[in-house]
Symmetry: C2
């Protein structure tokens, strides 16, 4: 089972693919898609979406996961984020992928064990959980974290 974690944003979307077998997880790939801040919005969004469609075509994940959106108090920020997020979700939808959404607290809890974990704690745990993974940056790290959370939240141990 390959899970694609996503951290959508207009300026730089993070993505990460992990393999989940029962309770075991391993790293497959991760990356970030920056967009050209000087390009018109329609072209930035199209470029972001094309890059994500390429990732999906390359790794053929079985499902995707993203954090529930953080509704910024600044409506303009919410607008930019949500326009980018819509393109990322549509790229998944066009490829037939379901996208599970998880609250940020649940992602931290699944990765670190506490919903109030700091970013640095999450990133330190990623090194433990995905040994040897070269993580592209903070956005890719967030994407891997949501993929791990999705694997954990979907894994129910078989009783014996």
């Amino acid at each position: 089972m390959l899970i694609l974690g996503l951290d959508p944003s207009l300026s730089c979307t993070g993505w990460g693919v992990i393999r989940a077998e029962g309770s075991r997880i391993s790293h497959i790939a991760n990356g970030q898609v920056p967009t050209d801040a000087k390009a018109p919005m329609a072209q930035r969004l199209a470029a972001l979406q094309a890059a994500l469609a390429g990732v999906i075509a390359d790794y053929r994940p079985d499902r995707a996961a993203a954090e529930e959106v953080f509704l910024n108090k600044n409506p303009q920020s919410t607008l930019k984020l949500a326009q980018a997020r819509g393109c990322v979700l549509a790229a998944c939808g066009a490829a037939g992928l379901a996208v599970n959404e998880h609250a940020a607290r649940l992602v931290k809890k699944a990765v670190v064990g506490t919903g109030g974990a700091e970013k640095a704690q999450v990133q330190a745990m990623l090194k433990v959980l995905l040994p040897g993974a070269q993580i592209t940056g903070a956005d890719a790290a967030d994407a891997l974290a949501v993929a791990i959370a999705d694997a954990h939240l979907s894994y129910t141990p078989t009783s014996r």
Copy 2:
């Protein structure tokens, strides 16, 4: 010059294509793209985007136009609208179309002559400006209005 007007929303996106030759405009086509409220978000967005890509492929407009987004006080509404809008903009961007954005007041002023016009006044003027056009519904009417505004706002008469 063919102009594609757009009124993006998650539940039902309106579109309208007009031909603009100098100050003359004529109706080419219009329609609405409803999405299935029971489908997952990623699939709704992908379906909306595929439908818009089909409209662009069918009519090959030279440019597109949309109203500047109305930032709803309800952040959840803004999120839904903006996710759909991002997909609509990306469909234009992927086809190489520029998307002009116009304030709602300017659209009304361009169509009716006053920025404070009611929806009914806009729709009545559409019948005058685009005689014979069968308008699919209120969302398609809004899309045609923004296309007309884009034609007017971009038209500078040649001095003699």
